[in-house]
Amino acid sequence: MNLISREMRGPWTLFKKELLRFWRVSFQTVAAPVMTALLYLLVFSHVLEGRVQVHGVNYTSFLIPGLIMMSVLQNAFANSSSSLIQSKVMGNLVFVLLTPISYLEFFLAFLAAAIARGLVVGVGIYLVVILFIDLPIIHPLMVLAFTILGSALLGAFGIIAGMWADKFDQMAAFQNFIIMPLSFLSGVFYSIHSLPPFWQEVSHLNPFFYIIDGFRYGFFGVSDMSPAVSLSIVALSFFAIAWLALHMLKSGYKLRG
């Protein structure tokens, strides 16, 4: 704490509080997504193993990075969005709004906590998986870069969703009609080259596809797209979403009437 300057203590405290918020309920926020990912892995690998190879990689190995990243993204989104909607509905968001914390600091604290949740879930799944399956990482920095950028993108998106939604069911709609389709249609379970041309084109419009493709490159050194292109597209998507989130926060959208 003493390493943190007085000016930075406000946002630092908010970040710590957001961390503790999910860590307190880590059974739901970490253990549950790890479990879900393992179930997917068990079912799909059992059904399809030996029959399918992608990029010369056996199907189970191919599947794992996609599953990890899908969980990372969903959890980063859930972290910022559920914290915001909950504190809006409960009314306790005022405690933060009453303080000198600026909108930019607010954004950074929520974003950092979302990234932390994404990392914890991702590392959790990876550690459990490598107990059973040999899965070396060829480009660790790529893996890290896509994890952080991907969680940041979804964390920022979660801030937007949390500001926009007034009720829990609106948030559920956001999850079910935007986040789930984007994550399932991103090539987690297949290479998009196995899709008809039309759906390949559609997949290219999905930022999740680039995150997962680039992340997978970090593991195997092969991918559908060049990792530099994927990284740039993910970074640009993040900046666009972050800009929108900051703009909304600055205007006080639904937070300061």
């Binding site: 406000g10 405290t13 509080k17 409960m90 405690f95 000198p100």
Partner: protein, 299 residues
């Protein structure tokens, strides 16, 4: 001296609804000030504007000389707000929540002693490790007050702090708040209860429909307004001479509006002269709604 609160020409509109219609008000440092008014008068709106929780349609507000919008960091450092709603964070216990709150204001472990002192003073010591969710309403209210004080703000605003609070807690809270006032904090509270303003506050603003309709020292104001109700049950009809004081009547039960207790004597003697027997009698605090009807009704 810079006023603790300065409000200039403030309007707040929600669509067609004019929640505040041009408020001007200055509150000096060290005052114990009450904002009185019936539901919907705009008290909370005014407080939320001071706190920066909402933005004015027009006009300016400052706290200790700091504009609440352009100098919001300084303004918020000098202001402690107890919201009207019993809001709480269900994830944390009382002490954690207070430390986080202090942290948001840039305060670290050096402030922990003060946090413990507030916990002690507000009677929260044996609940310090209890989750906020599990506290009773009264305890939540105390925690809210504690939360507003973590950064030792010179100006403290309490929005209906005694709504739904039992008498014992009310007393304790007032003792504590009076102490803060003696120590130099400016206190502003909103309330429904005239009595509360009367015993605590040196100055009162009365609001109605987004405007301040009276602003004076409590003593002066109470002289002008009929703040007491005398309920009488009589053996016969009320004497004509007393009808100007009448607020409501129902059969042979009458409610008279009085400005001071001494008036009771005169009322009773007139009833006696008319040979009417008082079957039942009760002196009660006037409902603010009634007081406002009287105030606005006056030419």
């Amino acid at each position: 001296m810079i006023p603790a609160i300065k409000i200039e020409q403030v309007q707040k509109h929600y669509g067609n609804l004019q929640a505040l219609r041009g408020i001007d008000l200055a509150i000096e440092q060290g005052e114990f000030f009450a904002l009185l008014g019936p539901n919907g008068a705009g008290k909370s709106t005014l407080i939320n504007l001071l706190a920066g929780l909402i933005r004015p349609t027009s006009g300016r507000l400052s706290v200790m000389g700091f504009d609440v919008q352009t100098q919001y960091r300084q303004a918020r450092h000098t202001l402690g707000v107890v919201p009207q709603e019993l809001v709480f964070d269900p994830f944390f216990n009382v002490r954690e929540m207070l430390r986080f709150q202090a942290g948001y204001f840039g305060l670290g472990p050096e402030n922990d002693a003060w946090v413990d002192e507030i916990i002690e003073c507000l009677g929260l010591a044996d609940k310090a490790h209890t989750n906020m969710r599990k506290l009773s309403g009264g305890m939540k209210r105390r925690a809210l007050i504690a939360q507003a004080l973590v950064h030792k703000p010179p100006v403290i605003v309490l929005d209906e702090p005694t709504a739904g609070v039992d008498v014992e807690l009310r007393q304790m809270m007032w003792e504590f708040i009076k102490r803060l006032n003696r120590e130099g904090h400016t206190i502003i509270l909103t309330t429904h209860y005239l009595e509360e303003a009367e015993t605590l506050c040196s100055r009162v603003a009365m609001m109605k429909q987004g405007q301040i309709i009276a602003l004076d020292s409590t003593a002066n104001l109470l002289k002008k307004i009929p703040g007491k109700n005398l309920r009488l049950k009589l053996s016969a009809a009320l004497p004509e001479t007393l009808r100007p004081l009448l607020r409501h009547e129902e059969g042979n039960e009458y409610m008279l509006a009085l400005t001071e207790v001494a008036q009771v004597e005169r009322v009773l003697s007139q009833i006696r002269e008319a040979n009417i027997v008082v079957e039942d009698m009760q002196l009660i605090e006037a409902d603010l709604e009634d007081v406002f009807v009287d105030l606005v009704g006056q030419p």
